[in-house]
């Protein structure tokens, strides 16, 4: 039996912070008085997210989600909802772009403090098939705010 320690890339992928958000997701549940609701799923792997936002004027006052899926998609959703509160819609879309850049391996984005705890997901960029997991909640966000802007 192979008893060598897990490789560093895997340890970077499954940091404690990520597992903590996976096991104790923040902002999980239904939002009262939501102004925006989007359901997205990844038909290939079955990850699901229902994202709800309460937007007042141009400001995201609250964000909650219900989801099922892997540690990466669920941790990303949990961290994202934390970060979105009190951000303007343009700020939120800019964060989505930074997140996407980080997933493409952009090291500047991985050091960008505006991404907060999401920086712990930088290691996902080394696993191309998992990038879609980390971006699922962000795709839900951009769908949600663009619905209105049409």
């Amino acid at each position: 039996m192979d008893t060598s320690p897990p490789d560093p890339q895997l340890s970077a992928l499954y940091q404690e912070l990520i597992l903590d958000h996976y096991r104790r997701p923040r902002n999980k549940g239904t939002l009262e008085h939501a102004t925006h609701t989007v359901s997205l799923n990844n038909p290939l792997c079955g990850d699901e997210i229902d994202l709800q936002l309460r937007v007042d004027g141009d400001v995201i006052k609250d964000a909650r989600f219900i989801g099922r899926g892997c540690s990466i998609s669920q941790a990303a959703a949990s961290m994202m909802t934390q970060l979105l509160k009190d951000k303007s819609v343009p700020q939120a879309l800019a964060l989505a772009d930074r997140m996407s850049a980080m997933m493409q391996g952009d090291e500047g984005a991985a050091r960008d403090k505006t991404l907060g705890e999401l920086r712990s997901l930088a290691g996902v960029s080394r696993f191309p098939v998992r990038v879609k997991c980390a971006l699922l909640p962000w795709n839900a966000l951009t769908d949600a705010v663009r619905q209105e802007r049409g």
Partner: protein
């Protein structure tokens, strides 16, 4: 057990390394690797025999046609088909089932009729029947599965009381590996007056199949799951049923005479093979069958059952691992579907991949079954003749690493 080291030498891809480790390919229920004999047969066909079949008036085209029809005879013999003309080449199981639904189903199922499927059917043996029933205003009745992953025979009996026109089920479940009592289910369905469609995608590669002994009416198989090329497969059917059915696709090859506004159709099986067929696929599939026959489906089944038993034994020793499906001897093919605590199957697959181990994670195209197991996904290891006990050990070892990363076992 089979001599795995010797067999593996026949499969060039298996010599590869993945992520710095020897490749441990345990996703055989999805698709299988190809022996050199299959690769050679395809190359030889194109080097020496390629021409369009059933049309040419020259020697080369006659040889291509002979190769294609010899492949048909090979498939027929392998599953003990009623006759070679009862073998229609298709792109695989999915197309074969769609052919039955689209031709036999559309001609015979009417509003108010019942079609029976099971909760363990692959989407390819479910969605075509959903489409048919929606189009016709017929009722789709899904038979439940038991907690240990078998077809619920009591519920199967209740479904048959509705006198269904068609009963469809898998011989072997792709998600759980359950080997269903196909002959018994067929005879019960026949007694209720139904026509029986068996999804043979997971049985044909792994067991000795005898469609005449099963006495089903339609049997679908995929070449790529049994060492053959992708895009090869067949519908095996009772010839008199095929005779009675309207065409599925229109085009060349399937016609007899074509007038401005109507046509008469070719005899079976050509009536169902519109357009230039996948001759390369048929020739490759015949070579795959020759390879399997040389080893013997009975020995392959025994080998895989030993691997599955060893895997279940090893995996269930890891605290937190749940294995799904029946445990009795002969009740399971070489498929082991499992979960590990709250570690999502995709996370398991990513971690195992770093050790060069390929498994499937997801719903296995069986979402109704996943709902009944109360999971959204499982991890699945599926074995074939070229897998050995060392790979079972590698699987278990890598799972322990996954457990360490997620805090289930000390790192």
């Amino acid at each position: 057990m089979l001599d795995v080291a010797r067999l593996r030498a026949d499969f060039p891809l298996l010599a590869q390394r993945e992520n710095g480790h020897p490749l441990v390919y345990l996703d055989n229920a999805a698709t299988t690797q190809k022996p050199q004999a299959v690769l050679d047969a395809i190359a030889a066909y194109y080097r020496t025999t390629n021409a369009n079949v059933h049309r040419g008036a020259y020697d080369l085209a006659i040889r291509a046609t002979e190769a294609y029809e010899a492949a048909r005879a090979k498939v027929a013999a392998f599953v003990n088909a009623w006759a070679p003309e009862g073998v229609v080449f298709t792109r695989g199981t999915t197309e074969a089932i769609n052919l039955v639904a689209g031709s036999y189903g559309r001609a015979n199922v009417k509003a108010g009729d019942v079609v029976v499927v099971t909760a363990m059917d692959h989407h390819s043996n479910l969605v075509p029947w959903q489409i048919l029933c929606q189009e016709k205003g017929a009722t789709l009745r899904m038979v439940e599965v038991t907690e240990d992953g078998r077809i619920d025979l009591a519920d199967f009996g209740r479904a048959l009381e509705r006198r269904p026109k068609i009963v469809a089920f898998p011989y072997v479940s792709n998600a759980l590996g359950t080997v269903n009592p196909a002959a018994q289910l067929t005879s019960l369905a026949h007694a209720a007056g139904a026509v029986v469609v068996v999804d043979g995608a997971q049985s044909t590669p792994h067991l000795r199949v005898d469609v005449q002994a099963l006495d089903c009416d339609f049997y679908a198989l995929s070449g790529h799951k049994m060492l053959g090329p992708m895009g090869s497969g067949a519908l095996v059917a009772k010839p008199q049923l095929l005779e009675s059915m309207p065409p599925y696709h229109g085009g060349g090859e399937m016609i007899s005479r074509v007038w401005d506004d109507h046509s008469t159709y070719n005899k079976i099986p050509h009536k169902f093979e519109a357009g230039t067929p996948n001759v390369e696929g048929a020739v490759g599939l015949a070579a795959a069958i020759a390879y399997l026959e040389r080893i013997g489906p009975e020995r392959i089944a025994e080998h895989e059952q030993s691997l599955a038993a060893a895997a279940i034994d090893k995996l269930t020793q890891i605290e937190g691992v749940t294995v799904y499906g029946p445990r009795g001897k002969g009740e399971r093919a070489g498929v082991v579907s499992f979960t590990y605590g709250d570690i999502h199957p995709h996370d398991i697959a990513t971690i195992l991949d770093q050790d060069g181990i390929c498994i499937r994670a997801g719903h296995h195209c069986a979402q109704p079954l996943m709902r009944r197991l109360n999971v959204t996904a499982t991890a699945r290891a599926s074995f074939y003749l070229y897998n050995g006990l060392a790979e079972v050990d590698a699987l278990a070892g890598s799972l322990v690493k996954a457990g360490a990363l997620f805090g289930y076992v000390p790192a």
